[in-house]
């Protein structure tokens, strides 16, 4: 390796961080060694609680004073152990280390304009005159890809989009001319297309200015695609460390295997058989070959109880047509849905995909009657879901159920899990309390939980267990349709796959129809039979199966796919023509014509004036793009 002769920017060895807690001493981090060379990217990956953020805080000298730190940290060719000398540490980090945080909204001072904000950092680090400071600020802003830096400098953070805010944070981090950038999940809070732009920027800085980038993330896809080296953390230790390609393609430690398997990369190339994705959970690996099930869906094989077979045979259909929903705040109007048609049938999984503000959650809430559209109808098997007076009868209610994004927030905190699962039963059925309790235990068993969990309170269960319990609750009334709003987004990767497996297994057993809202294309590709892509409240494309992403025609769909980092494809080798420009205008200001045209790389003059309608290209494949006919040769 050519880096061997070069002095490392940072050499961390034997880092151990301890906290004394109520029950004795806790080792948050234990014996971690990391080296970072200039011009290279080192990713530290791990699940929540693995200690990855603690390592980053230790490097930056930001650990709370009650933490007991040992180990040695050399930076920038110096000889002094910075961990042993806090004042030298803060001196060095201020000069040579820039930090970027996860939430740019929270890390920027809201009362300063972004120009003043960067000015301040420049002033602290460099002895420049007032005029020179502002010139330096503007040049920093253009270095991080902010066009029109002069007028942007006068803006306050809240006036900027998430991606711009992160760019400002990066500019501020660069102000002290650091050699090393520490980034803590800097793209996690951003939309996929914006994440892609920020990753481009960071890699560009690394390449051009030979900076070292330490990138902390939970996302093995991002890490694998941008890094030179990856360190995998688990329980406060580095369990695997090596070249990015080796770690992602041939993981050695079982935890890395689990992370890689659970990551569900978006696959744009090879067809692979759909099998269980869970690498950790053996019980979930039974009978979940959904494609086979779907083929036989019309004549289901008898399995389990008779009622279940009947249910699988009975075709339920939820039809949303012409759904428009506008939220008004004062004089401003936010368009969450604009004439959307959507159908979910039993036995199939329909995925709603889109970035934040695309209206996917609003549609899901409308589909279950939690929200009502301004115009358009929601019909369940020929009957309106909600009557004119705004009521939903008991039977209809029990047929459509929901699984929420945050499992902890979806359980009443002062009620035991068992009692919470009992609530819908109490309302929808006439069972005796004894029969209800039996049913609760039965439901818990069907989602892989123990009887004992019924008596516990929500805070006593892990995220994965809670989401299982939430699924049990949703199934309590034996529904035909399940609305899942980002059901795995708040779970760790290894747990995520278990929950997805469970959903598919239950779908096979019961013939459930699932409306699956997600921003994670890998998950969607794995689970969806049909995928609907939303942008600013309107359907851009609808396609079938996992091939949908290979045959996607709409430039927006293609930009989403291109923005999805894959652990095995180096970021620099992605086709950049597919990328969307800028960021979504926001649902308050919907662009004229095709609402994607300001960001579209293929837009023509007509796109600004004519709104394309959703047209069928081939069976089951619909696209709303004026140029959909001519795109076949592109990409």
């Amino acid at each position: 390796m050519k880096g061997a002769e070069i002095v490392p920017l940072m050499r961390l060895s034997g880092l151990t961080v301890r906290y004394s807690a109520h029950r004795g001493i806790v080792d948050a981090v234990c014996g971690v060694d990391l080296d970072l060379m200039p011009g290279r990217v080192l990713s530290v990956i791990g699940e929540s609680g693995s200690g990855k953020s603690t390592v980053l805080l230790a490097l930056a000298g930001l650990l709370p004073s009650r933490a007991r730190v040992s180990g040695s940290l050399l930076m920038d060719g110096g000889n002094g152990n910075l961990l042993a000398d806090p004042s030298a540490h803060s001196n060095v980090t201020g000069r040579t280390v820039g930090m970027i945080f996860q939430n740019p909204g929270a890390s920027l001072n809201p009362v300063l304009t972004v120009g003043d904000l960067i000015d301040e950092v420049v002033r602290v680090h460099r002895g420049l005159s007032k005029k020179e400071v502002r010139a330096e600020t503007l040049s920093l802003m253009s270095r991080v890809g902010i066009g029109d830096a002069k007028s942007r400098a006068a803006a306050y953070p809240h006036q900027l989009s998430g991606g711009l805010k992160q760019r400002i944070a990066i500019a501020a981090a660069l102000a002290g001319r650091p050699r090393l950038i520490l980034a803590d999940e800097p793209t996690t809070a951003l939309d996929a297309t914006v994440q892609a732009q920020i990753l481009d920027l960071l890699l560009d800085l690394v390449d051009r200015e030979k900076l070292g980038l330490l990138f902390v993330t939970h996302d093995i896809g991002v890490a694998g695609s941008i890094s030179n080296e990856i360190a995998v953390m688990f329980n406060g230790r580095v369990v695997e460390c090596g070249k990015a390609g080796d770690v992602t393609l041939a993981p050695k430690h079982s935890h890395t295997v689990a992370l890689a398997a659970g990551a569900l990369p978006l696959d744009l190339t090879v067809e692979q058989p759909k099998t269980s994705i869970s690498a950790l959970d053996d019980t979930a690996k039974t009978d979940n070959n959904r494609e086979q099930y779907l083929k036989s869906a019309t004549t289901p094989e008898p399995q389990g109880k008779d009622t279940q077979v009947q249910q699988a045979a009975k075709k339920t259909e939820l039809v949303l047509s012409g759904i428009t929903r506008v939220f008004k705040t004062g004089a401003r109007k936010a368009v969450a849905a604009d004439g959307v048609n959507l159908t979910v049938r039993s036995g199939e999984t329909v995925a709603l995909v889109g970035e934040s503000g695309s209206g996917k959650t609003t549609l899901a809430r409308i589909a279950i009657g939690l929200d009502r559209p301004d115009s358009g109808t929601v019909i369940l098997d020929g009957q309106p879901l909600i009557d004119e007076r705004g009521h939903m009868d008991r039977v209809t209610r029990s047929r459509v159920q929901m699984v929420f994004q945050d499992p902890l927030a979806s359980f009443t905190p002062h009620r035991s899990i068992g009692k919470s699962i009992e609530v819908p039963l109490k309302i929808a059925s006439d069972l005796t309390s004894r029969a209800r309790r039996d049913r609760v235990l039965e439901l818990l068993e069907s989602v892989g939980l123990e009887k004992d969990h019924a008596n516990r309170y929500p805070t006593a269960l892990s995220g994965g267990q809670l989401q299982r319990a939430a699924i049990a609750r949703a199934l309590a009334t034996d529904p035909d349709l399940l609305i899942c709003d980002e059901p795995v987004a708040s779970l760790d990767v290894s747990v995520r796959s278990q929950v997805l497996d469970l959903l598919t297994k239950l779908q096979n057993e019961r013939g459930l129809g699932i409306l699956f809202v997600s921003h994670d294309l890998g998950v969607v590709q794995w689970i969806a039979d049909r995928t609907v892509v939303l942008y600013l409240g309107r359907v851009m494309e609808e396609g079938q199966g996992k091939a949908m992403w290979q045959t996607a025609r709409h430039p927006y769909t293609r930009s989403l796919a291109a923005a999805n980092p894959s652990a095995t494809v180096p970021w620099r080798e992605r086709p950049s023509v597919e990328q969307a420009k800028g960021e979504a205008a926001g649902s308050f200001a919907i662009p004229s014509g095709c609402r994607f045209h300001p960001r579209c790389r293929m837009a023509i003059a007509q796109c600004e004036t004519t709104e394309p309608s959703l047209e069928q290209l081939e069976k089951g494949h619909f696209v709303a793009c004026l140029r959909s006919g001519e795109q076949l040769d592109l990409g």
């Binding site: 279950i368 209610r397 945050d406 927030a409 979806s410 609750r473």
Partner: protein, 271 residues
Amino acid sequence: MTRLTLITGLIGTVILAALILIALFAQQIAPGDPLQMVGRPLLSPFADPRFPLGTTQLGRDVWAGLVHGARVSLTVSATAAAAVILIGILVGTLSGFLGGYVDDVLMRITEAVQSIPAFLLALALVSVLGASVTSVVVAIALSSWPPSARLVRAEVLRVRTLDYVDAARVAGRSPLAIAFLEVLPGALQPVVALIGITVGEAILVESALAFLGLSDPNLQSWGLMVASGRATLRVAPLLVILPGLAIALASLSVSLAGDALAARLSEGRRA
């Protein structure tokens, strides 16, 4: 919870428990009517073993007065505080959960009540309703509910946006059931903290009303004792100081215990 809150909480709880016991067994501790003239007037404390704290200018036993006064003070303030919290919960929950016009109307009424100083309002109410224990309770309840209503409303506004409320709607719960079975229990924790303050305030208001002669003249209460001791303040200052101390001790113990309870609850929530 810090060590200090723990200690002060314990002290508060012990004093409060002692006061409650004294109030419950007042008849056993100091038998007879405390308003009865039982000895020579203005006996100083410890002068006569029958009257450990001496007698008033009307020859009433001071110790018996304090013991029976605890009963009146605690009953009146506990009932009034309960009423305050109940009104607060009802108004706050309906206002926060239903929103819209209901919220507007209820909040304007709350503000109207709040704009009149609570003690003046209680004073006015008692002078209209007549001097009795019931009217004192009603007066305190009707004049001090706005803060608790606003607190409950704020909490309800926070809780009702949580996912579990949507989950209850999906399960088919009626709006009223959601408001009182799902949202309200989640919003109650800060209200518990408010109970201590409310009871403490009620003790003060009750004493003040009694001091002004607007409580039941046929019941010995601390406020009344302070009022009647005022005439002989120079000769026998203890006649004012002792019931005054009782008032201070009671309201202090309630706040200390309430604070500790609130701290305990918020810890339970985080765990």
